[in-house]
């Protein structure tokens, strides 16, 4: 259907899981607890698990889509809708990934400016970060995968730091369980979906996986692990904060790090924020790569040039979205679009492919 990717440029099936995990674990982790507890209160961890299961289902559909057209989603769109409409839809993805990059990087800049360096210049920091992202993309998809791997493995020790919060937490805060109506749980699951949206990138790099069949178990395992981490983190946060306080804390995860005290490090949250810039590096790199790849596919502009174009737009947007309220609006808007793409568009596309296949056979 499209030229197959050279074996030398492909990644092993095990690594595919890391890309999906890296995309799901972004800036949302720092403050998702408040959002998710708004509707379902301290039963929200159930909603998190619920949305996790739904994600598994959607990922299954995504695999089917890619297998059906033997390519990626760009091929699928063209197959179903023809070149003109298909490519119009495809170019929409460029905007989506640019906005994902802005959401993540802008979020990081906001956190740094609030917590660490109030007069950090977003222009300079953003440019430096984006240049690093471009450098990664220049290395090819394998380098992007490598960064995803390290961006997850190296900061994984941070998970242990939450043990301190457990010690100071009161788990009876969670009782009584299921004190909320199913509607509230659903609403909370909806707001959680914004945080875990990254898995959609699978549709774009499927041709780069060696033996995609083998990667299925790894990817599903990875998504399960991420869901688990989010749920456990939520539970720990609920034990640590009373509901009224959680409602006020924009970045609950960072607040939880304030209580950590190690023999040589007093205020752990600064270390955590510095590490966070490593955690979202894969997000930025993957977004840049995907956006420039779609540009290459639709507009036939070389990826080496396209990346700079994408990065410049990201930088511009970061400079525009520079206050708390704007950031809020932007992220919720982006989340809504992402939700639509992932949970509505993808199943519909799959149905469309099945129908198209039957039609084309005739």
């Amino acid at each position: 259907m499209q030229e197959p990717v050279h074996e030398r440029l492909q990644i092993s099936p095990f690594m595919a899981a890391f890309i999906v995990m890296a995309m799901q674990f972004g800036i949302g982790v720092l403050g998702f607890q408040r959002i998710v507890a708004k509707e379902a209160g301290y039963d929200a961890w159930i909603s998190i698990i619920g949305i996790g299961l739904l994600v598994h289902f959607i990922v299954w559909i995504m695999y089917r889509i890619c297998e059906a057209v033997d390519g990626d989603i760009l091929t699928a769109n063209v197959y179903v809708f023809g070149k003109a409409i298909g490519n119009t839809i495809n170019s929409f993805f460029i905007i989506y990934f640019i906005s994902a990059c802005v959401a993540v990087l802008g979020g990081l800049v906001e956190v740094i400016r609030t917590w660490m360096f109030p007069n950090l210049s977003p222009l300079l920091f953003g440019s430096m970060y984006l240049i690093l992202g471009i450098y990664i993309v220049y290395g090819g998809f394998r380098t992007v995968t490598g960064i995803s791997f390290f961006g997850l493995v190296i900061p994984s020790y941070l998970l242990f730091s939450f043990a301190y919060a457990i010690r100071y937490g009161d788990f009876t805060n969670l009782l009584p369980i299921l004190d909320h109506s199913p509607l509230e749980l659903l609403k909370s699951a909806y707001s959680m979906s914004f945080t875990v949206l990254g898995f959609g990138v699978l549709l774009f790099f499927h041709p780069f996986i060696k033996n995609p069949e083998k990667s299925k178990k790894w990817v599903h395992g990875g998504i399960f692990l991420i869901t688990l981490i989010y749920a456990i983190l939520a539970i720990i946060s609920f034990a640590y904060f009373p509901p009224a306080l959680l409602n006020k804390s924009i970045w609950a995860t960072l607040e939880m790090w304030k209580i950590v005290r190690l023999p040589i490090i007093e205020r752990f949250e600064y270390l955590g924020i510095a590490n966070w810039s490593l955690i979202i590096l894969p997000n930025v790199a993957i977004c840049l790569w995907t956006a420039s790849r779609v540009i290459k596919h639709v507009f036939h502009l070389r990826q080496r040039k396209g990346v700079w174009f994408v990065a410049a737009i990201c930088l511009l947007l970061i400079l525009i979205v520079d206050s708390r309220e704007r950031m809020d609006m932007f992220t919720s808007f982006h989340g809504k679009i992402g939700f639509g793409l992932a949970f509505v568009y993808t199943p519909l596309l799959y149905l469309a492919i099945i129908i198209a296949k039957k039609v084309k056979k005739k």
């Binding site: 095990f14 690594m15 690093l132 990664i136 394998r142 380098t143 490598g146 960064i147 600064y270």
Partner: protein, 500 residues
């Protein structure tokens, strides 16, 4: 392709030149010697032409002249048959003259047939004798190191791998130096693709002078712009032999005591051969310490600068008082303090490298102690920072491979710069750049970061740790060798029951 044609043209031009013309050019050198002799048996005159400084006159006087003069030899062909020397061949090719004369051959021509020449090998071999390795010294194990002679080096390797599968391919590289370069590999074990890559690269080299194997490293490396070396070099024959047995290739360069090995990975630059000579638990422990030392060496000064400049909150209270008191009198911001000390250490290192041994040691010690103490007393630097910098300099010396230790020296500076800019955040970004750079590196086409990434669990047995030999029955995956099994695993692992 273009190069190939150019070379052919030059060859064509050469054959136009006659013997006389060549002689005129060579005659300009004082060590050119052309003597006529008369054979006693048949009164034929023959000429011996050779370059005096390259030829061992003992061989000429004792082994060549007596039979040439006394025995019944009338033509060049008979020279080849009758002379008791092994390295003789006959040729009509005028282009060979320059080549062979300058490699220490003696040219014999009979005056009545001046178009035929016999070349007899009589080269003088001056060189070092085999000594112990300077850089890769090991307390236990063999203490032989390579010397500058290609033949001697290959002798040392072949001694240890007496099999017919060890192939030595020769290349002559360099317009002016015509350096003999030898590519070694074990046929049937080493991956053909790697061999092809190296062969292709070696034959494409278009440089006039190759004096050392490090020239080759820089030319045929995948990424010449990276501060990281991509081919390992070693002066120990046993290390070369171990690498060849794993499935790597070795490149020996005439005139260089360092032999190149490829393809390599990042972790190999932190492995010393002595690790294989010790017990595996000790070896793994020492390797981990080395890795820790290297990380410490790169990071500690930037972390100090970042924390003291931007992140005072991170410092535990007791340490805070020590640091503040130590910094109280210092007029500079921490970054200048750190740069001052780093540059001083670099100066000490460079100066110590240039001075002859006897003077060098004293200056090193005196300079270090005096400069250090005096600068603390004068209030130019803090004693805490001095300790960190001294430790990090020390830690950077633990790298067994010299080229890598140089790299680590400079890596510190970008980190320092970023620490000054954005504190801990800057260090993380610098780390991101470093990581990306390493991920993009390849060594002879294989990813440089294996087995860390792509993640190959099985290869960890010899990368960060060193597991016992009976667990190393398979060759490293990244070499994609043709024979992955080294020896029978079951036999090695067989265990007996209690009291059996």
């Amino acid at each position: 392709m273009n190069n190939f044609f150019k070379k052919k043209k030059r060859w064509l031009q050469k054959s136009e030149r006659s013997v006389e013309k060549q002689e005129q050019e060579i005659k300009k050198s004082l060590d050119y010697s052309k003597t006529h002799f008369i054979n006693q048996k048949n009164n034929k005159t023959f000429t011996l032409t050779f370059i005096q400084t390259l030829v061992d006159d003992k061989i000429v006087n004792n082994n060549m002249l007596p039979p040439l003069i006394e025995e019944e030899i009338a033509s060049v062909k008979e020279v080849e048959k009758r002379l008791p020397m092994s390295d003789i061949f006959v040729s009509k090719d005028k282009n060979e003259i320059e080549n062979k004369l300058f490699h220490g051959y003696v040219m014999v021509t009979f005056d009545d047939s001046p178009e035929e020449f016999a070349f007899i090998g009589a080269a003088k071999n001056i060189g070092r004798s085999v000594t112990s390795p300077e850089i890769e010294f090991s307390v236990v194990g063999p203490k032989e190191a390579f010397i500058e002679s290609l033949d001697q080096n290959i002798n040392m390797i072949r001694k240890r791998l007496p099999i017919k599968e060890l192939i030595a391919e020769e290349f002559k590289i360099g317009e002016l130096t015509k350096t003999k370069v030898c590519l070694l590999y074990i046929d049937g074990v080493t991956n053909k693709q790697i061999i092809n890559t190296v062969q292709q690269r070696l034959s494409e080299i278009d440089k006039d002078e190759i004096s050392d194997s490090s020239y080759l490293t820089q030319i045929i490396s995948d990424n010449g712009n990276s501060p990281f070396p991509q081919l390992l070099d070693s002066e120990r024959p046993d290390r070369i032999v171990a690498s060849l047995a794993e499935g790597k290739i070795a490149i020996v360069v005439d005139g260089s005591p360092h032999v190149l090995i490829g393809p390599t990975q990042l972790t190999e630059f932190f492995n010393s051969f002595e690790d294989y000579l010790l017990n595996w638990i000790l070896a793994s422990f020492i390797r981990l310490i080395r890795l820790f030392a290297v990380t410490f060496s790169i990071m500690i000064t930037p972390i100090y600068v970042a924390v003291v400049t931007y992140h005072y909150e991170l410092i535990p209270k007791d340490l805070l008082s020590t640091l503040i008191i130590s910094r109280r009198v210092i007029p500079f911001p921490p970054i200048l303090e750190a740069l001052f000390l780093e540059v001083t250490i670099e100066l000490l290192r460079e100066a110590g490298a240039r001075l002859p041994t006897k003077v060098g040691q004293t200056i090193g010690i005196v300079g270090g102690i005096v400069l250090g103490t005096a600068s603390v007393e004068a209030g130019l630097t803090s004693n805490v920072l001095l300790i960190f910098i001294a430790l990090s300099a020390l830690a950077s010396f633990t790298t067994p491979v010299y080229q890598m230790s140089n790299t680590i020296r400079i890596l510190r500076f970008p980190f320092l710069f970023m620490a000054e800019l954005w504190g801990l955040l800057g260090i993380t970004i610098a780390f991101g750049f470093l990581l990306t750079h390493l991920l993009r590196l390849t060594s002879l086409g294989q990813p440089f970061m294996e087995p860390i990434f792509p993640f190959r669990v099985k290869d960890y047995k010899d990368a960060l740790f060193r597991f016992p030999f009976n667990m190393q029955a398979k060759r490293p995956i990244f070499l994609r060798t043709e024979k992955p099994q080294r020896f029978s695993e079951e036999k090695a692992k067989k265990k007996k029951d209690i009291d059996e």
